[in-house]
Amino acid sequence: MRELLLELWRYRELLWTLVIRELRVRYKNSFLGFFWSLLNPLVTVLVMTVVFKYVMGMRIDNYSAYILAAYLPWTFFQFALLDSSQTILVYMPVIKKIYFPRAVLPLATTFANLIHFLLAMGVLFVYLYLYVGTPLQWGLLLLPVVVLAQMLWVVGLSLIIACWNAFYEDVKYLVSVGLQLLFFLTPIIYFSEQLRATTLIPEAYREPIFWAYHLLNPMATLAMAYRKLILPPITLIYENPAMGEAMRFTDMPLPYWLLGVNLVLGLAVACIGLAYFHKKEWEFVERP
């Protein structure tokens, strides 16, 4: 593992060049290109807000901010995995000509997506703290840890997916479908508190299943963490007391231990991803 990391470090110039290249292509070489790329998540969140607030009756103050705080990290997760699954096949003509640690390819895509995500979060912060006037919280200081944890998960998973997709080209479709399902299973358009109180599960099992689920779905923990660190506790507006049980919940503080476990698991997944990719990289270059 140490040697692997050292080799990647020696190829950092290549990694960086690939990251720049990716961002250039994404932003079409223009400064405006970045803002243009924000349009998609903004419109999506706008539509979600309208639907959930005014059609489904989710009465929560500043609802769209809560969605954005979880949806931007989600898009990072989603696009990093989808984009990097393609990289090996895209670069196959180069891979077959010269040696370099092939892990730099999915890694570069992941880093480019990370940079894009951080820029988008910057825009969200400007909006929240300068425009809306959301109070700053101490929890914000923990945000780098959450980003690191997410990055570790994304690196590990994208290496594994990129590797599989190099062998079986339809893996990316499965991943895309899987991500769509995971989106609804992750508290992004709803709240962790609602997940905890879901009537789907008998009351006796709710708590253990709730926590176990957060160990399995890293994005559930991370979405919760981003929200609670960036934004104040949720305040419900009981305009319509006839709304169902699921709409009546009280804010839950962020369980820090869960974030710690998520970070450790992320580290493990990143190491497994690197080792697995390294084991397989000599096989997929021979793919005709």
Binding site: E13, I20, V25, K97, F100, Y168, V171, R287
Partner: protein, 253 residues
């Protein structure tokens, strides 16, 4: 990057009993459906691309590699560039290797020539700063001054080749691998490439030159390797080896 041992050694490349087998499955392999089918009895074929090949190339030599289609020439260059691992036997390479990247390999069609120079320069082992220093030279050599800020997809195949050769020629590689790419350049640029290759020879660099153009091989190489179905049939003075190869080509219908 890519340096396996210290520079200045006499031997540039040494292959000992080099064998490379590829596993070729006849089932569709690149889909999950293929994976399911793979549980059925498999029809896997071993393709021996190189068979017990041994040779030694010293620094400063220019060696032509000839042979029929599918005889293992590109595979040999791939092993030298550390793309493939040998199945058995060993390969020792001293110095930095720069393959002349295939037409457009690694070029991003939407990016400009300039941006693509960075990527190809760095992948061949330069730092970004070194690429920046050599930019004027590379662009001048490729004679693409007027097109360098245009996206690569607007380039002709000859222009792509010129850019590719110009980059590979300016990365200070110790060993240059040329696989069948010069043919698309126009006559004048081909001459320019050959002059550059002569320059490399004078600087004592090692060149492996794969081509089906026997005149070109005669022109640049002093020595030739003849690969036949993965077996090294001949290794020696370029004219002798080419004669033997052409004679056999004439003899087999």
């Amino acid at each position: 990057m890519g340096t396996l041992s210290q520079k200045g050694a006499e031997i540039a490349i040494r292959a000992q009993n080099l064998t490379k087998e590829f596993l070729l499955s006849h089932q569709p392999y690149s889909s999950l459906k293929g994976l399911l089918l793979a549980f059925l009895p498999k029809r896997m074929e071993h393709i021996v691309a190189l068979k017990e090949v041994s040779f030694t190339i010293h620094q400063g030599e220019t060696v032509g590699v000839i042979g029929r289609n599918g005889s293992g020439k590109s595979t040999l260059l791939g092993i030298i560039a550390r793309v493939y691992r040998p199945t058995s036997g060993s390969i020792t390479v001293n110095g930095r290797v720069a393959p002349l990247l295939e037409l457009g390999a690694g070029f991003h069609p939407d990016l400009t020539g300039l941006e693509n120079i960075y990527f190809n320069g760095v992948i061949l082992g330069l730092t970004r700063r070194q690429v920046a220093e050599r930019l004027p030279e590379i662009i001048a050599f490729a004679e693409l001054e007027d097109y360098i800020d245009a996206p690569i997809r607007t380039y002709s195949s000859g222009m792509l080749m010129r850019l590719g050769f110009a980059i590979a020629a300016h990365v200070d590689a110790d060993i240059l691998l040329v696989d069948e790419v010069l043919a698309v350049g126009d006559a004048r640029f081909q001459q320019k490439c050959y002059r550059k290759i002569h320059e490399f020879q004078e600087q004592g660099r090692t060149i492996l030159f794969v081509s089906h153009d026997m005149e070109a091989v005669r022109q640049v190489a002093q020595r030739a390797l003849w690969l036949d179905k993965g077996v090294l049939r001949a290794d020696g003075e370029v004219n002798t080896v080419i004669e033997a190869y052409l004679q056999e080509a004439a003899a087999t219908p």
